[in-house]
Symmetry: C2
């Protein structure tokens, strides 16, 4: 692109860059091999007629959107497959990550119904199918000769798994399971791709054998004929309707009327049902934690990627948009020069980076703990589970707020669907609910923390993420932390988390003494418990970011290290300011500490200001994935908004038929 066509304000911003953007990008994408593959793949797709010159999805009807999404997703899948085969990399498991990255991160704006096949159906086979079952199903699944989804949630039942109603009753006579939906509320509801796309499904149902219930087990069920795609006998299937976002995902419902499947269709890697109907328990329940944890790492990482897009759009637009004077004798300023605007945008940049680091950190912990698991060592599993739960909850909740803050920072234009905030919000806010509703997850973390508190007061050894509780109890923590530095803030936030945990623990004990059951006492203390888990998570996020950035800075050039440290400081100062009430309660910080913190926050915003555009440039998100006239690399915002408007089908004719049908007769009716 010739430089002359780039908006002048953006050119000036880029000229101010103080660091090596390529160094940042290499770190962000994970090395030069990955960067090359990313660039090649994006180039391969960039000018593809399959994704250009089509009517934007937001002008289509719900049904048309589904049809266009199927067209686009199958086309992308073919191309990505070809891309990898051409490079001698034909094994689908090798390019699933790339495909997931592309499909899951919005080249198709409203998500797609094939994603769930790779994100849940294949992982369910890997996690629950025995080696013989994998040999039967996996090759066809990887080649997408069968297309699957994963059905667990029911119309009346979500997070509380034991409440699921669908049944699979073993019939010894025929060695079959009879799948059945006894009520409307037991209809499977929500699985992506279930409605009109998938022809197979892993179904979670209550296993009954010999008149006894053996709890929830996974079954593989064929839903539709492979030739005609017609639903099979006894299967009621359809889509659940329009949603706030992700309308390409084709979420469906599924009811069973006495549907028979062979015994071998129960996935038996863990629990088993013998031919005679005898149930064999799995060696350990812990084994099933793996997939859940893996999905949470993905959610945290995806949230980081969504926020990188959001920040890119909002920062570039705010550098082009001019509004209001600061000094009345000068022209209107770039809105990014308003301190209030910086306070809306830059924390989102910081969150994107800190969440990515948290996902990397969680991934390291996950691989370490699963390696220990394979050795039969389950010790660190609860700690990992606890931190994964709260990280998923806090990053998605903060992420969703961040999207909306940045959208509103772009004023009215942010409200346009084409600006792409709306689609990104649809993804991020959905993640607050799925894979464990956030409040439920915070309570799971809190439950772990309460147990650990009990161990800590007894002086038992604690895992690394909760070691601070021992320090707190042994009074090793300085109650007057020096919050001018990031490590000081980490200590202060640890003191807050420990202080909140102590209070919640005491209130549970008091309520139990007053006659409540433990469970009732926990419910009555639930507000404090969620706040405790939240505080625990925030301390972890700052600590994790600090340690990983300091490690990075050991090998980074000085200018890049400076940028990363300022990002880390902004995140930490902002978290401290947001927690100021708790800091004042649980530490001994003074009014002058608070005033200094406010000044430091403001100084850090101003320090980041000159590099803001260059930092989002370094996220290296091509226009085709960014998908926003407000955020395009060239900054020609108004021209691009006008182009988008002209695509509206309403603008293809000067007078809409509704004028003649309704409006004119109405206006004449009162003559």
């Amino acid at each position: 692109m010739p430089a002359s066509s780039v908006n002048k304000d953006l050119q000036a911003e880029r000229a101010k860059c103080s660091f090596d953007k390529n160094e940042f990008t290499l770190w962000w994408v994970g090395g030069s091999d990955k960067l090359k593959e990313k660039n090649d793949l994006e180039k391969f797709l960039e000018n593809d007629p399959d994704f250009h010159n089509t009517t934007p999805l937001h002008f289509l009807s719900h049904k048309e959107l589904y049809e266009e999404t199927i067209r686009q997703s199958t086309a992308i899948f073919r191309k990505v497959r070809k891309f990898h085969e051409d490079r001698g990399n034909g094994d689908p498991s090798n390019y699933m990550a790339n495909l997931g990255g592309l499909l899951g991160n919005g080249i198709i704006r409203q998500g797609n119904p094939l994603g769930i096949h790779f994100a849940m159906f294949v992982p369910a086979l890997l996690g629950h199918a025995s080696p013989e079952q994998q040999a039967e199903w996996l090759p066809r699944a990887l080649k997408v000769q069968m297309l699957g989804t994963y059905a667990q949630t029911e119309l009346g039942h979500g997070t509380f798994l034991r409440g699921l109603e669908a049944t699979a009753t073993y019939d010894e006579r025929t060695q079959e399971f009879v799948l059945h939906s006894p009520t409307l509320s037991s209809y499977k509801w929500w699985p992506g791709g279930l409605a009109h796309t998938a022809n197979y499904c892993v179904v979670m149902a209550q296993l009954y054998s010999k008149g006894k219930c053996h709890g929830i087990q996974p079954f593989i069920v064929q839903l539709r004929d492979e030739e005609t795609h017609m639903p099979l006998k006894g299967i009621t299937i359809g889509e659940i309707g329009n949603k706030l976002g992700m309308n390409g995902v084709n979420n469906g419902f599924l009811g069973f009327d006495q549907v028979r499947i062979p015994r071998k269709n129960m996935l038996m890697k863990n629990a088993k049902l013998l031919e005679d109907g005898t149930f064999v328990k799995p060696p350990s329940q812990a084994l099933t934690y793996g997939t859940m944890m893996f999905v949470r790492v993905i959610i945290v990482r995806d949230t980081a990627i969504h926020l990188a897009k959001v920040a890119t759009i909002a920062v570039r637009y705010s550098s082009v948009r001019r509004q209001s004077h600061i000094n009345p004798d000068q022209p209107e300023v770039q809105v990014i020069d308003h301190l209030t605007q910086q306070y809306k945008l830059f924390p989102t940049i910081a969150r994107s980076i800190v969440f990515k680091l948290a996902a990397d950190n969680l991934w390291q912990m996950y691989t370490q703990v699963t390696a220990e698991l394979d050795q039969g060592n389950l010790e660190r599993l609860p700690e990992l589970h606890a931190i994964a739960c709260c990280l998923k909850a806090v990053t998605t909740a903060d992420g969703a707020k961040s999207v909306e803050v940045c959208r509103m920072a772009c004023g009215g234009h942010g409200y346009m669907t084409c600006a792409n905030f709306y689609n990104l919000y649809g993804f991020v806010t959905a993640a607050c609910t799925y894979e464990g509703e956030n409040t439920v997850l915070l309570l799971q973390t809190a439950r772990y923390l309460v147990k650990v508190w009990n161990q800590a007061i007894k002086g038992q050894p604690l895992g690394p993420t909760v070691q601070y509780l021992a320090n707190f109890i042994q009074n090793k923590t300085n109650r007057h932390p020096w919050i001018d530095t990031v490590p000081g803030i980490v200590k202060a936030l640890h003191t807050v988390a420990a202080g909140k945990l102590r209070l919640a623990f005491e209130h549970i004990e008091q309520r139990k003494k007053a006659g409540y059951t433990h469970e009732e006492a926990v419910n009555l203390t639930a507000l404090e418990l969620t706040q405790t888990a939240d505080a625990h998570c925030r301390a972890f996020l700052v600590q994790s970011a600090y340690e990983m950035i300091e490690k990075l800075c050991q090998t980074a050039t000085a200018p890049f290290a400076k940028v990363m440290r300022s990002i880390c400081e902004l995140y930490a100062y902002n978290e401290a300011i947001e927690s100021i009430g708790s800091l004042v309660r649980f530490t001994t910080i003074s009014e002058s500490d608070i005033n200094r913190l406010q000044v430091k926050l403001e100084q850090t915003l101003l320090a980041i200001r000159p590099n803001a555009v260059s930092i989002v440039d370094a996220f290296a998100i091509p226009d085709v994935l960014l998908g926003s006239p407000l955020g395009a690399y060239d900054g020609n915002v108004y021209e691009k908004l006008y182009e988008e408007a002209k695509k509206s089908p309403l603008n293809q004719e000067p007078v809409n038929k509704s004028f003649h049908l309704y409006l004119k007769p109405f206006m004449r009716s009162s003559l």
Copy 2:
């Protein structure tokens, strides 16, 4: 409706009601006459085929949605007109409020393009047209023989009015104005109904006469031929595209290429342009404040009504939905029994009521101040303006958050478009941006507060909403407030607001001493200034609610008074908890005060719990306006969700054509 068809949990909830619902409803709608009219009108529309058995808007394409919206809005308008004419009330200005209430509050889910005619075009005529001009235009406008909109915002210019670029240049020779859009960024952008609906428009443009600019003035411009609806010569017009919400509103763009209009089309109630091109200034700029203030009252009131709907949907659903045990030996509980759920829902009930009271209060102040204005007394105008600005900002910001908290409290089902949270969010979050972007409005309030602080330290008399500043300065405020009561919390919040204002004021002064201009110093202190305005507003909201509820309680029955006081307490305790950091900084509350506050908040939630369903029932929102399967009066949530799903056009055929077109060939391609 027979009681037997009502969900049993809801029946049990209603049986627990401790107060007279009718008393609540009468207060909420404003008396028995209004209640009767509301009931009659709702009955009149309830079973109307024009609003039933049609495909829900969210399944339509963008274009179809517009066409269906025009059909529905003209039909509703005719019916409401007939309803009033049948009652001998044929003057349109009498039923505009009802129409606004119906059209503006979502009987048409995505807004409508006629609303702006009544909300802005007619008020603009009333506010800016001279008596002769009103005689010419108003009768046709009121009968909707001409359909108007109001065009101010441009593609490149929003809140900062002086930055508008469109010009109206007076040509003395022909006694005409020439309207022109000199750049793409000067295109009018956003006006509702502008795209394909309105045929007239009030346009704000820079007036040039005799080579001199006289600032922004209003002009009435015909856009389309009344017979053919074709755009007139020199007019480029269309719609701006799809949005996050309000897609029925038909927001448009408008460019002028040397369009000539007669001199009399400049609205000359205030400023005038004589035949010879002489510009005559208006007697006072203050007169134009009126409409703006009026619109802000409406926004606060509408936010309250939107939140009443949100609370109704979420509270009823949470009473029907069951999830998780509290005690393991008992069945799954209603989710409303989880304290965390109560903390998500009940503050929204409280906000709805407190915001309605604030709107009533603001309305009283507005009528009083406009009466004073008519007497030539402008004294209280800045105070009114300041409180209106921050009330609009805080209620819409808190309102938008409330919608999302309640939506997410309904889990996955809240994410469905048919649940109607999404449409309501579209309305409430849009109000954060339009009619003065929230941050800009908070800074306007702050600017007023800084001025008042200057007066206060000089001992000058202050208006009632800022009287607390004098008390603060004279040290009359008890720095250790008794926050166990609502008046104590009001005092505490006043101390916080005053404390923040003092700090911001000092920091501006320090920065000026360091060499910054006043404006630069203000920009560098803008974070603290917005927080100051926010604190000022929150104190006002609690105080206003307390005083108005105490007044109401003088005549209310004891059970109703008890409910209203518990609502007021919940709001106050919650605001105090949310401000805990500031309370600790600026007052001397202790750790035991905070613990007591937390306990009081929890107790208030539990106290409201038995009446929660009855309170939302008393908002008296009929199912047709609520428009949500989750919130229907009978609570048959799952049946209604399934009915909604069955309406999807995708569900009208077992196999979608995309299977044969794309999916099957794709799945076979890797055989």
